[in-house]
C-alpha cells in the first residue's frame, strides 16, 4: 500500500497511511492506531476464519488472530506483507481451535440427516453440469462436509481444507501453517484418502 504526503505537507489520513507507518505508531505507544489495521484486514481475517471454523467460533478465533498479531507486532520483520503475515496467524489460530476442540469431550460425530442423504442422491443423479453446481451450492452440503471433516484430526483437517478445499499449493500451505513442504504433501495425500473413505462409507450407509 503506497502513500504520498500532500503538497501542503499535511499528515496523511488513516486510509492513506501505509501498514508500516501504522505499525510504527502502535509500537510507539499509540495502541488505538491498531484499529487502522483491524479496519483494513478484518474482512481478510474473517474470510479465512469463516472458511475453517464453524459459525459459533469465528468471532473468537478472529479476535484471537488480531490479539496475537498485536502481541507479536514487534517481531513483524516486513519480509512479507502485513496481510500475508496476518493470514499466517489466522490460519494457525484456526488450527489451534481444532486442536483444542478435538480434545474436548463435547465433540460428537452423529449420523447424517435424511436431508443430507437426499442431497447426496440428487448430486449423484444430476445430469447436467448446471444442475450439479446448483445442488452443490445447497446448504445440505454443509452438513455432509462438517460430518466428514469432524472425523479427521486437527492437522489432517487443516491441510485438507487448505490444499483441497481452498486450492492453496503445498508450498503456500506449508508457509501458512509453518510446516515443512514434505509434511504438508504427505498429510495432504493421506487426508484426501481419508476424506474419500469417509464419503465412501456415507454412500454405503445410505445404500444399506
Amino acid at each position: 500500500m503506497s502513500r504520498e504526503r500532500t503538497l501542503s505537507g499535511e499528515a496523511p489520513s488513516p486510509e492513506e497511511e501505509t501498514d508500516t507507518e501504522i505499525i510504527g505508531r502502535v509500537l510507539g505507544g499509540d495502541v488505538n492506531a491498531f484499529e487502522g489495521l483491524v479496519n483494513r484486514y478484518r474482512s481478510r481475517v474473517f474470510g479465512i476464519v469463516m472458511k475453517h471454523v464453524p459459525a459459533d467460533g469465528t468471532e473468537d478465533v478472529a479476535q484471537e488472530t488480531f490479539l496475537e498479531a498485536y502481541r507479536s507486532l514487534g517481531s513483524f520483520s516486513g519480509r512479507s506483507s502485513f496481510g500475508q503475515w496476518l493470514s499466517r496467524i489466522a490460519t494457525r489460530c484456526c488450527y489451534h481451535f481444532w486442536r483444542e476442540r478435538r480434545g474436548s469431550p463435547t465433540v460428537s460425530v452423529s449420523s447424517l440427516s435424511d436431508n443430507a442423504e437426499e442431497w447426496m442422491d440428487r448430486v449423484l443423479s444430476a445430469g447436467s453440469q448446471e444442475s450439479f453446481l446448483k445442488e452443490a451450492a445447497k446448504q445440505e452440503a454443509a452438513e455432509v462436509l462438517t460430518h466428514a471433516l469432524e472425523k479427521l484430526s486437527a492437522a489432517d483437517r487443516m491441510v485438507l481444507a487448505l490444499v483441497h478445499l481452498d486450492g492453496y499449493s503445498v508450498q503456500e500451505t506449508a508457509d501458512l501453517l509453518g510446516w515443512s513442504t514434505v509434511s504438508v504433501k504427505v498429510r495432504a495425500h493421506r487426508s484426501r484418502r481419508k476424506l474419500r473413505k469417509i464419503i465412501g462409507d456415507l454412500l454405503q450407509e445410505r445404500g444399506g
Binding site: N32, E59, Q63, R71, L73, M120, L145
Partner: protein
C-alpha cells in the same frame, strides 16, 4: 474407475464447490469494539508491544534478575566456604600441634 469411486469423486467435487462458494454470515458490529477493548486492557495504561515483542522483553528481564540473584548467592556461599577452609588449614598448622605430631608419628612408621 468403478461406480463407487466415481460417486465418491462426484460428492467430493460438490463439497469442494460448496466450500469455495459458501456464503458467510456478516460480522457483528460490536465485535470490533470488544476487540479494541481487549487490546487496550492487554496494553495497560501506557504499555505497547516493544520492538522485540512483549514476551521476549519480559523473558530477558526475568532471566537477568534470576541470574543476578544466583550470582550473588553463589559468590556469598563461595566466600564463606573459602574463609572456613582457610581458617581450618591455619588452625591445623598453627594451633593443633598435637594433631601435627600425631600425623608425623604416622609418617615416621
Amino acid at each position: 474407475m468403478n461406480k463407487q469411486s466415481h460417486e465418491v469423486r462426484k460428492i467430493e467435487e460438490a463439497l469442494i464447490h460448496f466450500h469455495r462458494h459458501r456464503l458467510h454470515s456478516s460480522i457483528d458490529r460490536s465485535w470490533q469494539a470488544r476487540l479494541m477493548s481487549r487490546i487496550a486492557k492487554e496494553a495497560g495504561p501506557c504499555e505497547a508491544p516493544t520492538l522485540n515483542g512483549n514476551g521476549m522483553g519480559r523473558t530477558v528481564w526475568r532471566f537477568a534478575l534470576a541470574a543476578s540473584i544466583t550470582t550473588i548467592l553463589l559468590a556469598g556461599t563461595l566466600l564463606f566456604a573459602t574463609q572456613d577452609l582457610q581458617y581450618q588449614v591455619a588452625e591445623l598448622i598453627l594451633d593443633d600441634s598435637v594433631g601435627m605430631d600425631l600425623a608425623g608419628s604416622f609418617m615416621n612408621l
